[in-house]
């Protein structure tokens, strides 16, 4: 499982970080700009919650 970040949609709400701090990283301004490759199985449920929490719909799960 991977996560695609549509960086131009991210507005720094940081809801993904709140749900899954082990998965998502924000830049120094608090925006999510980096795609995430291979989320470990034990973190996938949390990562999905992070994706669903984004009020800007900036995140997409890419299944293997």
């Amino acid at each position: 499982m991977k996560i695609h970040v549509q960086a131009d949609r991210c507005q720094g709400h940081a809801r993904c970080l709140a749900e899954a701090p082990e998965v998502f990283q924000l830049d120094e301004l608090g925006y999510n700009t980096t795609d995430i490759g291979d989320v470990p199985p034990e973190l996938q449920a949390k990562a999905r919650r992070g994706v669903l929490s984004c009020p800007e719909l900036a995140l997409t799960v890419i299944e293997d």
Partner: protein, 426 residues
């Protein structure tokens, strides 16, 4: 603040559902919410001749679309909408009923590209990582202000805590002298607490003018001799190699204060009223403290502090099948979007573990409230400590007062409580 609506009455569009919707007539949360529910159901994109003539978008879909389209919908003061006789460049166009105030807010009242460097300053300071540095001060002030009343068994939880904490945290962070804190935060809070036109309201409008004067004095002082505080940092912001203007420096400090001081107050007060009236929700949070984070989001959805914002249309743009014309005004309702059944099943219910909860209490798009992370941190710490330290508090309903106007900002003027006395922590 007399709304100068008679100065800018726009022509009705040829094709639009026309409604009679005067935001400023609602003097309670209940009546305001009911009006938004009715409008959203009847016409989620509508035109009203009230408020100077403006489009109103009230569904989640239309609100999110409008917030994100910053190419078409502008926040800047320089763009005034349909120029009419007496149109005033000093009016704040981000308010649904444009208010007459001379104090600019930077970056909220700017548009890209000018907006970018100023937004970066706030985004960096108030990023989740930036807020970590403030967390010990948030814990300290919640502890200390509860300590001040905990042995007495009673207080006004608004004056003591929900207004006191954001005031202390933000004003300490900015570097304003402690003797000013109470008066400054009381000015923002009380300005909204009294009916417009009454002597009390006029008194606090004068107090608000005093706060702007204090901001100007501090900005002057810290531009001459910077201190180790955030007011100094903001006031000496460098953009494109040059220190920003005195006007913009003042606008940034004003932004931090106006945005920070009486906003978290609103949702935290609403939460304490809610938990008093819904003992089941209170007990569940006491028994399952891991639900606090989702409860914070649900309180924000049900009781968003900022209820509406406005924009100016700069190019013809379609929303929901209607064409908003260049120079039209547009009112965007956060509160209505947050209560839209299409986006939130059982929207009229407070669901403590609602998920997902993509509410718009902090707005959406580029102008998303940059203080949202510090607001959440303050609100959560207040909830945690109240439920730990005075879990049996009861509101004295007869003395509970809400704001008399729910147009732009909602809130509670005062909420006296009684509780079993506890012990100090400091």
């Amino acid at each position: 603040m007399a709304p100068p609506t008679d100065q800018i009455t726009a022509d009705r569009p040829e094709s639009a559902p026309v409604v009679d919707f005067d935001l400023s007539t609602h003097n309670s949360m209940q009546s305001s919410n009911a009006a938004w529910d009715a409008l959203r159901t009847a016409a989620p994109v509508a035109w009203s001749d009230d408020n100077g003539g403006a489009w109103i978008v009230s569904s989640y879909e239309a609100v999110t679309t409008a917030f994100r389209n910053t190419d078409a919908f502008k926040s800047g003061r320089a763009v005034r909408g349909r120029p009419g006789p007496g149109a005033d460049p000093g009016l704040m166009p981000i308010n649904a009923v444009p208010t007459k105030t001379t104090s600019l807010m930077i970056p909220e009242e700017l548009d890209a590209p000018l907006w970018h460097p100023y937004r970066r300053v706030f985004a960096h300071l108030l990023s989740p990582r930036g807020v970590e540095a403030l967390r010990p001060r948030i814990t300290y002030w919640v502890t200390r202000l509860l300590d001040d009343v905990i042995e007495s068994g009673h207080c006004d939880i608004v004056g003591t805590l929900t207004s006191g904490v954001p005031g202390a945290v933000i004003l300490e962070w900015l570097g304003f002298p402690e003797q000013d804190w109470h008066r400054l935060s009381a000015a923002f809070h009380n300005m909204a607490s009294y009916v417009e036109g009454t002597p009390d309201a006029q008194h606090y409008l004068d107090e608000l003018e005093w706060t702007f004067q204090r901001i100007r004095e501090e900005v002057t002082a810290v531009r001459d001799e910077p201190r180790d505080d955030i007011a100094s940092f903001l006031a000496n912001t460098v953009v494109a190699g040059e220190r920003t203007s005195y006007e913009f420096a003042t606008g940034m400090v004003n932004m931090a204060m106006s945005g920070g001081v009486d906003t978290t107050t609103s949702v935290a007060s609403a939460a304490f009223v809610h938990l008093h009236r819904h003992p089941g929700d209170r007990q569940r949070l006491i028994d399952e403290p891991e639900l606090i984070d989702s409860a914070v989001e649900e309180f924000l959805r049900v009781y968003p502090p900022a209820r509406t914002h406005a924009r100016t249309v700069v190019q013809d743009t379609e929303i929901g099948g209607f064409t908003l014309r260049k120079d039209d005004r547009l009112i965007i309702s956060e509160v209505s979007a947050c209560h839209d059944e299409a986006a939130f099943p059982d929207a009229d219910k407070f669901i403590i573990d609602r998920f997902p909860n993509r509410h718009v209490a902090f707005g959406l798009g580029p102008h998303r409230c940059p203080g949202s992370h510090v607001a959440r941190a303050m609100f959560k710490e207040m909830l945690v400590q109240v439920l730990e330290r005075i879990p049996d508090y009861q509101i004295v309903e007869d003395e509970l007062d809400e704001y008399p106007n729910w147009t732009a900002l909602g809130g509670w003027s005062r909420a006296p409580i009684t509780f079993t006395p506890g012990t100090r922590r400091l």
